[in-house]
Subunit: 370 residues, 4 copies
Amino acid sequence: MSGNTLGRLFSVTTFGESHGPALGAIVDGCPPGLALSEQDLQGDLDRRRPGTSRHTSQRRETDEVRILSGVFEGKTTGAPIGLLIENMDQRSRDYSKIADVFRPGHADYTYWQKFGIRDYRGGGRSSARETALRVAAGGIARKFLHERLGVQIRGWLTQLGPIHLNLEDWGEVDNNPFFCGEPSRIPELEAYMDALRKEGDSVGAAVGVLARGVPPGLGEPIFDRLDADLAHALMSINAVKGVEIGAGFASAGQKGTEHRDEITPEGFLSNNAGGTLGGISTGQDIVAKIALKPTSSIRLPGQSVDIHGKAVEVVTTGRHDPCVGIRATPIAEAMMAIVLLDHYLRHRGQNADVNSGTPVIPAQPSSSNP
Amino acid sequence: MSGNTLGRLFSVTTFGESHGPALGAIVDGCPPGLALSEQDLQGDLDRRRPGTSRHTSQRRETDEVRILSGVFEGKTTGAPIGLLIENMDQRSRDYSKIADVFRPGHADYTYWQKFGIRDYRGGGRSSARETALRVAAGGIARKFLHERLGVQIRGWLTQLGPIHLNLEDWGEVDNNPFFCGEPSRIPELEAYMDALRKEGDSVGAAVGVLARGVPPGLGEPIFDRLDADLAHALMSINAVKGVEIGAGFASAGQKGTEHRDEITPEGFLSNNAGGTLGGISTGQDIVAKIALKPTSSIRLPGQSVDIHGKAVEVVTTGRHDPCVGIRATPIAEAMMAIVLLDHYLRHRGQNADVNSGTPVIPAQPSSSNP
Amino acid sequence: MSGNTLGRLFSVTTFGESHGPALGAIVDGCPPGLALSEQDLQGDLDRRRPGTSRHTSQRRETDEVRILSGVFEGKTTGAPIGLLIENMDQRSRDYSKIADVFRPGHADYTYWQKFGIRDYRGGGRSSARETALRVAAGGIARKFLHERLGVQIRGWLTQLGPIHLNLEDWGEVDNNPFFCGEPSRIPELEAYMDALRKEGDSVGAAVGVLARGVPPGLGEPIFDRLDADLAHALMSINAVKGVEIGAGFASAGQKGTEHRDEITPEGFLSNNAGGTLGGISTGQDIVAKIALKPTSSIRLPGQSVDIHGKAVEVVTTGRHDPCVGIRATPIAEAMMAIVLLDHYLRHRGQNADVNSGTPVIPAQPSSSNP
Amino acid sequence: MSGNTLGRLFSVTTFGESHGPALGAIVDGCPPGLALSEQDLQGDLDRRRPGTSRHTSQRRETDEVRILSGVFEGKTTGAPIGLLIENMDQRSRDYSKIADVFRPGHADYTYWQKFGIRDYRGGGRSSARETALRVAAGGIARKFLHERLGVQIRGWLTQLGPIHLNLEDWGEVDNNPFFCGEPSRIPELEAYMDALRKEGDSVGAAVGVLARGVPPGLGEPIFDRLDADLAHALMSINAVKGVEIGAGFASAGQKGTEHRDEITPEGFLSNNAGGTLGGISTGQDIVAKIALKPTSSIRLPGQSVDIHGKAVEVVTTGRHDPCVGIRATPIAEAMMAIVLLDHYLRHRGQNADVNSGTPVIPAQPSSSNP
């Protein structure tokens, strides 16, 4: 409850640092009877894992997750699920150079100022390595949502620095290291990343994520709206600086006649709402987009100060992602899965005896792509 | 805790519908000893109040708040503060026409599908009238932050439909009904709004909000980051479809050398971070921006269905804001105040014995405007 | 969330002081579709109300509750329910004598030490007057549990000072001011209380409370057990110093063969467990007992100190209950109702798809009396 | 948050089953800068550990805890602390006999009815083995409270079946397997336990626990009172059926003049309150007592039913504690430590700027023994 927990009925609490012995999570509130094994979670972990292409960090981690509790004879029991991933490649290199220095754009300064002590090895708790456990926990939520409700959650890259990308083919998204759904642009992405790496710089990105098949009614007024809880969960991903639901910032320039999604007996005619009205799911695709800043771990020198306030020049060596946004896709999917399952359980708890039957408005989305 | 509460140590729970007898809130966890009276809250309530210019809803509400508890001899006691605003102008008009109809872009359908019952009078619980209590509660947080820490929180209009606005003069923001900080553009805004009203349409908007003087160290890893909690609180405002912190979506197109805020012994050289690193405040201005959709309550007919799924044409009559974004400025400020005070108390609880002394990096922002 | 809220999915937050203008509560998470009006709550409020017999405080309060939100056309909507009770008889007498003095056995000292400020009028926030709102909120939970699940919740007096009481006749409990279920002893109770009042002293009491018809399965491992949450809720009642579930403290002297409730196809053979095993309801009666200390507001002088640490003699004048335990019965019932409904909703949320069908062990309790 | 978490600012979440590969916990919200190593926690774990005398379960577990995160260079960092204990002696014996049977007095039936699935090996999640992690987590709280505030927390056995025990000598409590503070009675206890073991029966017990040196002001009105949260935490310990604070159930028979703790400039004259008034600590010893039922795992046959409702006779074989109350002492201490630290941090968060200085009433307890 003290900052490292997400969710109310379905909740995830994580621990672990970049260079500690292991990272772990407790997933509490998973409904019983769900078939579950490590293999169910490994697929998404592998999609997030570093070192799988030359465009991500070269740290070598197998990210093999162990389920330590909450599963009996292959099924969840309703007891909390303990997850553990051991760190394999936490190089014991010399950190003395950065121990007293605040790297610009990193959490070094704020952790120091907040806690008065800082595990500086690889970013410690603030490292994106922590997101491995989110992906594992999200995999549990995802499996439940898919098996019991038919919900499908998918993410894709919408922007990499100056390159904006369409989603042309869902089938291609997982066939390239960028989660790019416009296959013809992949050579362009590779060329850009290769140049960037040579340059020693990094770049931002944007990622879309959607959930299809979500029943109407999920989300609570007033503060625990589905969109507000999604914004919270997505903004909590390292490096995220913006979250949009549906038309997002474009809404500010729209007129009411343009934005409002008209309805016919066959379904909604558009989805500017991104699948929520009044903070509650409509049955349409839930669509969100996030912006990720360029990683601040770059070889090019930058100005900063040390813990005594003295000016220093900082150069970040070590293994880093030149574009953290690339690996963010499975993380965003995981966050969406956790939020949706939590709200599904909450909704069921409060409203299980509302006999809503078949939704009045068919769930058929306005088009097959977001 | 069941959806209508925000905050952990400083928490706000609201109740009330657009056309019920009254709206109210309980503010729990306000530190004792703060001088507080109704007058302290009325100023912000008046800034949010409808009917103060021809550009907002013509509903006549005095929005006078009563403090029912938690204050003794003019000071807060640490006990929960009960707040009450009576509704004065809930016209008893005939709602039979919309009782069975889902207005497009409204929460009508989702409330119906979730709860199986719906207070259709003026939007019921989903009405933005609920935000009056947020402003009152936020006013308490704001007063504490200002008096004890010197924090200043301010919002301003950055976009109204096609019109993008600069912030040239803080002093002018409260002198016009738009919260516009570029006074020379006000005639343009008025002309646009007058035309829009004749047209019967509505329009979106964007609002910026910043907090100056926030000490470094506020925000908790991992899920309860300051930026994530801000995103949650801001996205919970009616009509908000997007939230940015600092450079926001522009980050996706930036390089690391461009985005990272370099540091000198005199302070940060820029504020792309928007005042948070690793989810924790840096001491710089906390800067957020939100996009609000155009209200869906418009006179122009739209297609929809009724509760039986039959096609209907919907025209929204009644009193509505043609641009809900205009009145959103004090609401956004209130949400930021609530989140900041909650995190200040949490931080103090967990880290009060960290003797951080004077922050290593001076708080002086890179420039006086966001 | 900051101390004045109880419950997760069904939650109650209260505000108000003994001598303020009003007390109130927000009941959040009540399922929609429940028929509800003020009259449904007034009955229990009247049972708790002071001044109804010569054996309780002579303060005159009508304790009329108003429902300000969350109910539409006579049914709950799923929105938060605002409750308000105005104080009528907060005598404006002179409190200057006790303003600087810590009455022994009261919260005067601890509030002072914690908050540095204290509303000393009638005990302020620490007054048992706050429990009126618990009774109103509990009435909502009680109605849901009764109408939807057939649960009956009842309390009774088990001890008044030296007098131990049996429960012989449920039907008589509400026919006397003591909630005594052994009608032949009522003259004895009256004589005792009359003597006590003359003496100027006060006395302790014990109260039993049970819930019949609770389905098996409510309660969560490990910390949010049903019995643990009951203990929390019951211990939060003013003056309560002990809580027992089932055999309670007698369990410490029992052998396993004696304590364990054996089971036959017709049901459990006893109920030492008090209706919970492993923190989860068994389907038997949930049985709890609480001990309440004698009120410390007595006419007989006692030693204390003032806020400067100087010795003073304290005599409490004003209107007080010589035995707060008498009026505690409806409060204990309310607390049990709130905890049970919260756990029912949580259970439904997490396990709604567990098709448990008819419970394996019939719910028939071992005997009709606790 | 979903049942397996305790605490708000200092929170503990546990996972693990009796016969799974490992048990673990995440301790979130521990203030930074506390010196901490595994050795600091092992002492209490060893006190709780089974198999250390012939009077407890003969299961052989080393209960060695590993700290996986949150500690850097020997000090806590403010990041969540991951704890892990591997199970060593989970005998792979044949459980087919009890897989379909509900042992009377166990959680077998309620878990089955709640979850529809049950890890029957050694009680699964409902096993008291889970309390090892509470002891480890409590050890962290305990160390903080002791080092920073000088708080001492101690428990002792007050009753073992028919034998009531005094606390004569704190120094002896840890020198015998019973946590008995009346050394002359130990032979009596041993004889009783030996006879009981031969008999094949089990017995209940009662345990006292106190905290000395707690500053005044901890605990929140109304629901999160210190005593209410203690009742919750203590009742959540397996087998606990009753909780008392201070005079407890004896209060029901007391008069006001007898119960109220009078005050002099030198301190309180008695401690019937058990260290809390109005739910907030007074600075006196916090004193609680708990009753534990006899374990239901006994060799003597009992009646029950199987999952099909058919009558069966149950005999519990395997390794069990004939008196679970014996090992409960370190668990009760741990629960008190967790609750106190959580409330200390909450109090500091909300009231850090209350300059209360030296408490008005000296903390000197009325006598050195409870």
